[in-house]
Amino acid sequence: MSDSAIEAKAAQAETGVSGAGGVRWRDTAHFAVRNPKLLIGAGVVLALLATGLVGPLFIDNPPNAYVGPKSAPPGGGYPLGTTSFGQDVWAQFVFGLRATFLVGLVGGGIAAAVGMVVGFTAGYRGGLVDEVLNMITNIVLVLPALVVLIIAAAYLEARGIWLQGCFIGLTSWPWVARAVRAQTLSLATRDFVDLARMSGRRAYKIVFREIAPNMSSYLFMTFILLFGGAILIAAGLDFIGLGPTRGVSLGLMMHSAVSWSALSGGMWWWFVPPGLGITAIVGSLYIMNVGLDEVFNPRLREL
């Protein structure tokens, strides 16, 4: 579930190359440590990542085990209370965080890879290849990703987080391909690329050594947005009941909370933490991205 910040980025990409590829690393670091948006965003994301990595180590039972009293509010031995089956909400939450980060990484990574390959190829090769890839991109762009995923996931008897991530990655790349293509088009006619071409280097080397480094900051920010988008799509799928068939995830927690009427039962501790976790991760990623944009792009810095 991408947002329109992405659109702003894509629009920006189409008007020309963004960011400053040539900024020295030290300069970037100088502005990075002074950017509150970046620091706060990265701080929240890292704190939640650490919770997801370390938290499960302190939990003895599997997250779905029926360990405690039923429907207990937070307090006592259960910091986030228990579900109406007596499952520990905190245990589910920390394991769910893990799943969320994993699905973001896999989904975002695959989407970034596919989008970049398609975008670079289309932008650099041009001609018929460009036409065909562009057509495919536009088709996948128009198809509503979540609904395609629902259809695909519905037929699977057993679903895992990795598979879910792959599926999400394969449906959410088109806007990246478009943006990368636009930037590649504008870079491919520059003198230094012509020079590299004359020296007889292979096309993929030119793309990765000459073109990609000039948009590295942009690619990095794209990956962050894809990461957040994949998390949101996964949460949606899980919520419909098409999440991983075994294990836990934050979306699945919301699914069971709503299915077992936690709402009318007033068991807020069951449905507030998972949604809050997702919102905190994705929101912080977005805010972090604004900060990164300011770090990489001197025109945006507030001095």
């Binding site: 659109e7 008007t15 057509m135 088709i139 509503p144 609904v147 949604g275």
Partner: protein, 331 residues
């Protein structure tokens, strides 16, 4: 201009073909016997209905025929408006079930999309380059757009529905109301409609506001803005030009975001038990009703394609470059 629209229509036609092909292919690609999978959790209990369902599905899938024949049959029945018969509500045709649900989904989606787009753009333009708003409300916008649709729905249903008791939290109208053309029923509909609408609106609003804010900042950096300012044009005028330029990419953004917002509406409907397409998808999943699921998929894709086309046409009309071409009778 005509070429532009022709190209768009070609893309949409191909997308439709792709969607139909996905529908045809997926049940055949997945492991196992599709007919058996479908019937394994069918709602019918007695053996006679079971046998009728089995016969029907085997004839529909026509697995004894060659693949190309199956594919052509699939398209033929599609053009006859036949999307199959539901397992969940056997023997009702899927098309009818879906058509009953569409108005509810549209009632949520259309106002949510239009109002959030308009209000978000206005607000984003207003907040841009104002330090105080930027620092307080911008993070709020990012958090809103990062909120999973269903979670905001859950929070609203819990806070304003269950705890405060202001709004009902399930269905499109109360159990006790009798559908009819009267004010009591209309009011009941509005009360049930409000919370799902509000959660859709809020999430989408955050996204549009941020997008607009960023675009306005880019526009204010542009040469023409600097030039206008140097000429001593009032701030308001410069901003008005910036806004008009920024609306075009936001239009494109609207087309791109349609799928996401539609998905959001499906999730929101599930939270509130609102009887639109999202709820049907949930029922279809719970009852292993794949015809209903695939029919819903096709309906949604067609809806998104139509909406995309509308956006394209509106874009052509509001973009002064193409508008001039049209008026000049060119292209």
């Amino acid at each position: 201009m005509r070429r532009y629209l022709a190209r768009k229509i070609l893309v949409y036609a191909l997308t439709f073909v792709a969607a139909v092909s996905i529908n045809w292919l997926i049940p055949r690609l997945m492991p196992g016997d599709p007919v058996r999978t479908m019937l394994s959790r069918g709602s019918a209990g007695d053996p006679e209905t079971m046998q009728a369902m089995r016969d029907y599905y085997e004839s529909v899938f026509g697995l004894d025929q060659p693949a190309w024949q199956q594919y052509i049959n699939f398209w033929t029945s599609l053009f006859q408006g036949d999307l199959g018969i539901s397992v969940w509500l056997f023997p009702q045709p899927v098309t009818g079930i879906l058509l009953d649900a569409v108005p509810y989904t549209l009632a949520l989606l259309l106002p949510a999309i239009l109002l959030s787009w308009i209000a978000g753009n206005r607000f984003g333009a207003f907040a841009a380059r104002s330090r105080w708003l930027d620092n307080t409300l911008l993070p709020l916008g990012y958090i809103l757009t990062a909120t999973p649709y269903m979670w905001l729905g859950i929070l609203l249903a819990w806070g304003l529905g269950v705890v405060a008791g202001w709004f009902p939290t399930a269905g499109a109208y109360g159990f006790s109301s009798i559908p009819g053309w009267n004010w009591t029923f209309a009011w009941d509909l509005v009360m049930h409609w409000f919370l799902p609408f509000a959660s859709l609106f809020l999430v989408a609003f955050g996204g549009w506001a941020i997008g607009m804010r960023n675009l306005i900042i880019y526009e204010l950096e542009a040469e023409y803005s600097n030039y206008l300012e140097a000429l001593g044009a009032p701030r308001k005028l410069v901003r008005r030009y910036a806004f008009r330029n920024a609306v075009l990419p936001q239009m494109t953004g609207l087309a791109v975001q349609l799928g996401t917002i539609v998905a959001g509406a499906l999730l929101t409907e599930i939270v509130f038990g609102y009887p639109g397409l999202g709820n049907l998808i949930l029922q279809a999943l719970n009852n292993r009703d794949f015809f209903l699921l695939q029919g819903a998929f096709l309906f949604i894709v067609v809806g998104v394609l139509i909406a995309n086309f509308v956006v394209d046409v509106v874009y052509v009309v509001i973009d002064p470059r193409t508008r001039t071409q049209m008026q000049g009778g060119g292209a």
